[in-house]
Subunit: 308 residues, 2 copies
Amino acid sequence: VILTVTLNAALDVTYHVPALQVGTAHRVPTMDERAGGKGVNVARVLHALGEPVVATGLVGGSTGSEIRALLSGEQVRHSFVDITARSRRTVVVADGAGATGLWEPGPTVAPSEWAAFVRHFTALLKVSQVAVLSGSLPLGLAPDAYGQLILLARQAEVPVILDADGPALLAGVAAGPTLVKPNAHELATAAGVDTVTDVPAAIGAAEVVRAGHSTDLVASLGPNGIVACTSAGRWHAAPAEPLTGNPTGAGDACVAALARGIAYRLPWPVRLADAVGLSAAAVASPVAGSVSLADFARLRRTVTIREL
Amino acid sequence: VILTVTLNAALDVTYHVPALQVGTAHRVPTMDERAGGKGVNVARVLHALGEPVVATGLVGGSTGSEIRALLSGEQVRHSFVDITARSRRTVVVADGAGATGLWEPGPTVAPSEWAAFVRHFTALLKVSQVAVLSGSLPLGLAPDAYGQLILLARQAEVPVILDADGPALLAGVAAGPTLVKPNAHELATAAGVDTVTDVPAAIGAAEVVRAGHSTDLVASLGPNGIVACTSAGRWHAAPAEPLTGNPTGAGDACVAALARGIAYRLPWPVRLADAVGLSAAAVASPVAGSVSLADFARLRRTVTIREL
C-alpha cells in the first residue's frame, strides 16, 4: 500500500452562502464536511484511482472522531494515532464569487503522543511501498519531525515523499527523502530567492535545494505545470493550456501521481504526465480536491513533456 | 429553580482575526467556544446572579457533547435530552471592526425525540418556579411546539416566559404564556405593522399582540430601553443614556431579569429596572452575553422608570 501521513489532519468545513458580507450575519443554508489535511487529500485521490492506500497521522477530540468517521464513509482506509488535543477545523465560506478561508489553530502534540506515532509509523512502514509526508507540523513537534520519519523510512527501505514548507521542508531535505514536491513559493523560500517565476529559475532553485542530497525534486508551478530535477534527468511537463478552476488540491493530486509512479517504478515522463493530468483534473473539479477519472484520462492526453 | 429551555442549542464559536477579508484565507490565531442558544444564555446570566437554574432542551452529536461539557465547566446545571442529529454551530468572525456571523443549519428533530422532551420537561416542571422558552425551533417541530410546552407549564401552575419570533411567537401567545418578550422587530411582525420605533407604537403593537390573552408583554427596544404592557399596568424603563457596545445577549439578560422577577414576585418597577440594568451590563461586557455584577449594580442605578 501507499502510506500517507497527515500530522495536522483537519475537518474541512464548507459553508455555502449566497454572498459573504463582512459585518453581517448569514444563515448558512447548506454546508459540507470532509476529512482534510494534505496527506488525507493525497489518500483520497489515490483511493479514487483504485490504489491501495492507508491514511495515518494524528487526530484528536470530537473533530478527530469526525475525521475518522468521514474517511470510513468514503471507504478510505485509515489508521490514525489519537492525541488528547482536538484536531483543527478549516472553514471555507464559499459564495458565488470566491472562497474565504478560516484556519483554526491546530492541536499541540505531547511528546508521548509523538513517540506513539513514531512506533505506529514504523510498524506501518513494514507493509508500505511508498510513504508520503504532507502538510504542516502541529505545535509540539520539532521542526525535524519529518526528518525523523524520513530516516525511519530509509532504514525500512521505503521510498518517501515530502510535501512541506519552511523549516519542516529544509529539515526534511537534510534527512534525504526520495522526493520533495514544493510549489513555486515554497521552492523559492527554500532556495533563499525572492521568487521562482519560470522554468529556468525553478531548475536553478531546485538544484540549490537538493545540492548534496540524492533527493529528487518536483516543483509545481501552478498553470505552468511542473519541473522535475531528478537523478535520472530533468523535465518540464505542462498542460496544453492553463486551466481555470479551483487550484485547491492540485498539489495533493500531483503528489498522489508521483507516489503511484514510485510504487510502480514508472518512467519519469509517465509519472510527470500523470502528475500534470491529475492536477489538472483536480483544478477542473467542482469539488475542491476531488478528481474525476474521466477528466484525468482526457487531460492527461494533452500534457506535453520536454526533457531539459 | 428557574428552568430555561433551548430547543435549538448551539455551540457558539468565535474566531478572532486581525481583519476579515472576503476572498482570502486567514489563520485564526485565537478562538473561543461557548455553549449557546438563547435559553442557554439566559441560564448563564441567572447563574452569574447566583440564581438556581437548570438549562434543558435538545442537543445532539459531537456538538451536543461539547455544549454539555462547556456548561459543566461553567458550573451551569443542565439536563438536556439527546437527539440523533447534530446540534448546530454558530461561527462569529470578530475583527477589530465588527462581527461577521455564520449560522449553521440546525438539526432535524424526530417525533419520538420531541415526545421524549415533552416527558422530560413535564418532569422538570415539578421542581421549577419559572420556565423560560427561548429561541428558534429546530426543523421537525410543529410551529406550536412552544404552545404545547406553555400548556404543560400552565397545567403545572408554573409561570412561563416565551422569547421567540415569527410563527413560534404567535402560536405560543395563543397558548397564554405568563409573559412574552419580543424585541421591536419581532413585536412589529407579530402585530402586523411595519416598524415599532417609539414607545407609543410599542404600546399599541403590544396591545394588539396580547389582545384576548392574560399574557404580559415586555418589548425590548434596544437603546430606548423596554416597554411593559401588563395586567398590573404599563411602564417604560430606560437607561440614563443609550449604551454603546455589543448588543448580543442583551435580550437574554433582560429575560433572565424578568424570570427572576417572576420567581420572587418582585414589583414590576423593580423587575424592569433589573431588566434594563442587566441588559445594559450585557451590552457593556467585552464578552458577548456575559455580565459583570459590578456593571449591573452600577448601571441599574441609572435606570429611569416611567408609568404610562
